[in-house]
Amino acid sequence: MSLTRRQALKRLGACPVAVASPLTLPSGAAARAATCLPWPAWDRFVADFIGNGGRVVERADARQRTVSEAQAYALFFSLVANQQALFERLLRWTEDNLAGGDLTQRLPAWHWGRRDDGSWGVIDSNAAADADLWIAHALCEAGRLWGVRRYGALGALLAERVLREETAELPGLGRTLLPGPQGFVIAGGRWRLNPSYLAPMQLRCFATRLGAPWRALRDSAVKVLLGSAPRGLAPDWALYDGAAQRFVHDESDGSYDAIRVYLWLGLSTAVMGDPAGAAVQAHFAPMAAATEALGAPPEHIDTRGGAGTGSAPPGFSAALLPWLQSLGRTDALRQQQLRVQERPPAPDAYYDQVLRLFGQGALEGRFAFDANGLLLTAWSPCLSGAPSAAVRGRM
């Protein structure tokens, strides 16, 4: 971890267009006014995917769809890039189109686009818990970093709604995040869960700011991550049997969803600095080994048998970067970095692009999460000036 932090800070310091002098950045207003690090990849993403109205369009998709997750990630990146006007546009579109005009009243629908009859609108009004948490998280952190009350309040309200509508008390797990409000409770006391919806640094952030129920959620998240990946390979989906209090491995493929498990773990090193956290990180080492052995992350991996198939798109490599770095697997890290450079994601590959923004962005020191799960950005006082006490304690 200390290596990551130091490298990140070094990169910042070395950057010729660094944010204004740390001394000029004590107030939120000054931080907002500060020139930001150029982030060409993000600028390109904005140009390629985000319409003027603040909608992230998946151009490669037949329905020109928008998913709430894309809005959520874009909100997060615009915060990292210190682009408040863009953030507001994204939020406004999300609120108006996915949340029926009011995020204080309902969860955003996960799927919007051209319907079968040619009209535009919500295609599926069910929500996606990971997107909801990312939106809530971006709002909470935007409220804190930009000093905008409304964002903080909207974030807290949304997080509370997630808690009410997208979690359940599962035998043996306690309060657990469900993938959405509907469709994940299976007859016979089973639940379908998605490990990649669990971002430890995010749950930690909510626990820090919103208290007890989130600590329970964080604890269950660790159980889900470990329980669903007995061989250290995360599956896309997992079925939990409440009576047996264990995971039933009906589907064992680990692929496009699961790749984010490693991404989030890579971003969560500060919050998982304790031995228990380190054990979780170490538990997933087989994925690093498989990647190293194959020279690239497998597109699919049989999480029970361990066999990987197919060469994953470059976004997978990018997603693994922070994690490989935190594991100290420098060879694998260099290998995957090179792979991303040589095979950059296609301009219209939304998901690949997002994974790259996360993975490379973190590696470039554009953002990080401290031990309390609070977001540090290149323009925020903490990362541009002296590291916060929490971070310093680990250096």
Binding site: E95, A99, G101, D102, L103, T104, Q105, V148, R149, R150, G152, A153, L154, A156, L157, E160
Partner: protein, 838 residues
């Protein structure tokens, strides 16, 4: 046709008035001079004023007018508009001062108009109000008649012209004639063909020469409401100089006024985007903001206000209403966005902050709400309104303690009645809550519930009527007294208009009116010399009366007053129709004295213990009137709790005077203490002791001429032991108070005629004998009240005092109508207090 004529006549007058203002300045010669040329700037400001006037934005109107007057203190139209504004807001004295300024300036037309306005808003205000009522009621015929009376020239001054244009047009035929020349003079050019724009190179100076006068005319026409004509002028002017910003601004204004909103918006935006139009940016931005808000586009208005720094143009009331409408439709998020943006633009607006805090609270974001309020308080710690708004919001968030603390931070003198009422309500709530947690729950809760029931009781609007008979048998014609009063009382609470906490107005006091007809009868003074010589100057005449002399009087007591938690006052007349009527009144202020409740009271009351002091009478021999005694007092009262005994001390100094009655003064001290021995809902029993000490300088208790007929011992001490029982049961409540006591008195001998030495000498220096006295006394008061329905209550009471020489009995039967239905806890009986007994 006539209607059209009158319309044009009116228009002509307005154009005339406006052009008087405008022509007083030399025309600006060139575009570049606009900023420097005061007259143009002033006429622009006047245009602004006109806009605010039309929008009903008195606050902004006042700002603009003050701005104009700061530049040109004699600006006639500004003085006129400001004068009208003052009148509309009820400050006629200020309007008079402005009128004087206007008259000094010598603008006869404006002076006359303001003078007319002053008349309408002062002397003729009732008629104006009646006229408006008639109109609202649709009574056009009567309204027209009244309008003709009110505006005999057929022209209403100021903004009233527009208001009553319809009426006066119908009725103001006579006025149309004289104004006719005006119409032709001003209206004709409007129909003249627009001159062709001259060839640019050759005629450029000529174009400028014509541009500004055209624009000024256009403004005057626009001010006068002739929008079509104004538009034609602007078009003519703009044909000469299409890019000149003032013209473009005026055209956009006209678009806005004629509801071509898109065109107006485009016009303003084009100006704002044009660096060459920087001179009009501020105005264009403000008008764009107003336009957007008027179109319900509050978010756009906010965005533009933020962009162009035109936050002053925002109507925060409209923003609040828009946010409330969003919330009412279940869109809290939109309300939040609107209020946040509004507060960002107007961070010192306490009510935006209040609404926003409540919305956050409503959404469960209590901490955010508190931070928000704290931020507002920190930014303006001295702002009482900010504190009030914050306290209301706190109260709405169920943070009563914080609300109280916030209010307590406001200096007493800076608090409004609304703030006091809120503080009282919060203290009530706190007391109630504390009572619930109290170690002695039953007793304490009963006490609190009772107290709050009492306070709420008098906050209600009521109509009351009562019969108040009383009798005291003593010496007929002198100290005997039988009376009947019939108090009629109308009480109306004075609420804080919509405090927003729960939709219920907080009464912080009530206004009341007493109309109490009175009849009193002291019986007939016997004709025998022995008895009659104790009356008037009969003793000096040395003869018995030819016949018994009836002593009776009829009159009316009238009073009006205001009673609040801490202050009350009243003013009235006692005994209109009596031989000696008296003006009376009182003022009382409660305050806190070293943590104890204290009050100070100044009052003047009539003594009602007998016919002579109450009503006055005539001396049968000389025919002179005497009597009607008032006591003017200053009273200091302190009350507090002394180890469980609620105790009070009051010290009173009084001056007594009456028609042809010797002057007198008194000092009185009263100490009382009692405590509850039982404290339940059905029965609360308290008992204690009361010590009274009085001193009057003179004994004027007799009925000879110069005396007042009121008890005025030189020394008086009494110790009484009162027992008080009260309670409630269902729709009944009762109260009984019995007292036994003992008194010690000394009355000095009194000359027969203390005011007139000659008369006194004529009696042979006779004196009424005084002496020591006293004895035991008992008194009983019983009251009962029943709630007949949520709207009606009835009650009765009796009071009897039995001591050696004084044994009055009083009854009271009363009926009360509660205008707002009463279903809560019964309060103690509340017999009507006749105005004579204040």
């Amino acid at each position: 046709m006539k209607t059209r004529l009158a319309q044009h006549a009116l228009l002509a007058l307005q154009v005339l008035a406006a052009s008087i203002v405008l022509s007083s300045a030399p025309p600006a010669r060139a575009q570049g001079n606009v900023a420097a040329a005061d007259p143009v700037a002033i006429s622009e400001l006047l245009r602004n004023a006109q806009l605010w006037l039309r929008l009903g934005r008195a606050d902004n109107l006042r700002l603009v007018l003050n701005k104009i007057l700061a530049v040109d203190g004699g600006q006639a139209r500004a003085l006129l508009l400001l004068g009208e504004l003052e009148l509309r807001e009820g400050r006629s004295a200020e309007a008079q001062r402005l009128l004087a300024r206007l008259q000094r300036g010598g603008d006869a037309a404006a002076s006359a108009e303001l003078q007319d306005l002053v008349r309408v808003y002062t002397r003729d205000l009732p008629r104006l109000q009646q006229l408006r009522l008639l109109r609202r009621g649709g009574n056009e015929a009567r309204a027209t008649g009244l309008a003709r009376e009110l505006f005999p020239t057929g022209n209403a001054p100021g903004a009233l012209a527009e208001e009553f244009a319809g009426l006066l047009r119908g009725g103001g035929r006579a006025a149309a004639g004289p104004s006719l020349p005006g119409r032709t003079a001003t209206a004709a050019p409007a129909r003249a063909p627009v001159p062709n724009p001259p060839a640019a190179a050759a005629a450029a100076p000529a174009a400028e020469d014509r541009y500004w006068p055209l624009l000024r005319e256009a403004r005057a026409l626009s001010d006068a409401g002739a929008l079509g004509d104004a538009r034609a002028r602007v078009a003519s002017a703009m044909a000469l100089q299409p890019d000149e910003p003032e013209g473009r601004l005026l055209r956009a204004d006209l678009d806005a006024r004629e509801d071509r909103r898109d065109a107006a918006e485009a016009g303003y935006r084009a100006l704002l985007d044009d660096p060459a139009a920087a001179g009009v940016h501020v105005r264009a931005a403000a008008r764009l903001v107003v336009l957007l808000q008027n179109s319900g586009r509050h978010e756009d208005a906010l965005a533009d206000a933020a962009r162009s720094g035109a936050a002053n143009a925002l109507d925060s009331g409209a923003l609040r209403r828009a946010a409330e409408a969003e919330q009412a439709q279940g869109r809290s998020g939109a309300g939040l966005r609107l209020l946040e943006a509004a507060l960002a633009a107007l961070p010192r607006d306490p009510w935006l902050r209040h609404d926003l805090a409540r919305l956050y609270g409503h959404l469960g974001q209590i901490e955010t709400a508190r931070d928000l309020l704290a931020e507002g308080r920190a930014a303006a710690p001295e702002d009482a309104e900010q504190a009030y708004a914050a306290a209301l919001a706190c109260a709405a968030l169920d943070r009563d303690a914080e609300a109280l603390a916030t209010l307590d931070a406001v200096p007493e003198g800076a608090r409004s009645e609304g703030q006091r009422a809120l503080a009282q309500r919060l203290r009530d709530a706190r007391a109630q809550a504390e009572a619930r947690r109290s170690a002695e729950p039953v007793a304490a809760a009963a006490a609190i519930v009772r107290r709050i029931a009492e306070r709420n009781a008098w906050r209600q609007p009521t109509d009351e009527v009562a019969l108040f008979p009383y009798a005291r048998r003593a010496a007929d014609g002198r100290s005997s007294l039988r009376g009947l009063e019939m108090p009629i009382v109308v009480t109306r609470p004075e609420g804080v208009p919509d405090d927003g906490t729960d939709g219920r107005a907080l009464a912080h006091g009530h206004r009341w009116l007493h109309v109490d007809p009175v009849r009193i009868d002291a019986g007939a003074l016997p004709a025998s010399f022995g008895e009659a010589s104790e009356f008037g100057t009969v003793r000096v005449g040395g003869q018995p009366l030819p016949a018994p002399l009836p002593q009776r009087a009829r009159g009316l007591n009238l009073g009006l007053g205001w009673t609040g938690d801490e202050r009350r006052w009243d003013l009235g007349i006692v005994g209109a129709g009596f031989e000696v009527p008296n003006l009376v009144g009182g003022w009382r202020q409660a305050f806190s004295l070293r943590g104890q409740d204290a009050s100070i009271e100044l009052s003047r009351r009539v003594l009602t213990g007998g016919l002579l002091p109450y009503a006055g009478t005539r001396d049968p021999l000389s025919g002179r009137r005497w009597g009607g005694v008032t006591m003017s007092t200053a009273t200091l009262r302190v009350a507090g709790d002394i180890s469980g005994w609620s105790s009070s001390a009051s010290l009173r100094a009084g001056l007594l005077e009456g028609r042809n009655v010797a002057g007198n003064d008194t000092v009185q001290l009263r100490l009382a203490s009692d405590r509850d021995w039982l404290d339940g809902v059905a029965l609360r029993l308290s008992a204690g002791a009361t010590l009274s000490l009085w001193h009057y300088r003179r004994n004027l208790s007799f009925h000879t001429f110069g005396h007042g007929g009121y008890y005025s011992p030189q020394r008086y001490a009494s110790l009484a032991l009162p027992v008080d029982a009260q309670g409630r049961q269902g729709a009944w409540s009762y109260r009984a108070r019995a007292s036994v006591g003992r008194s010690w008195t000394y009355e000095a001998n009194a000359p027969y005629h203390p005011t007139d030495p000659a008369l006194q000498a004529a009696t042979g220096h006779a004196v009424h004998a005084g002496g020591r006295g006293g004895g035991t006394s008992t008194s009983l008061r019983a009251e009962i009240e029943r709630r007949l329905s949520p709207h009606w209550s009835a009650g009765a009471s009796v009071f009897a005092d039995r001591s050696a020489y004084y044994s009055p009995t009083q009854w009271m039967f009363y009926l009360r109508r509660n205008l707002s239905p009463q279903t809560g806890e019964m309060s103690s009986p509340r017999p009507v207090q006749p105005y004579s007994q204040f």
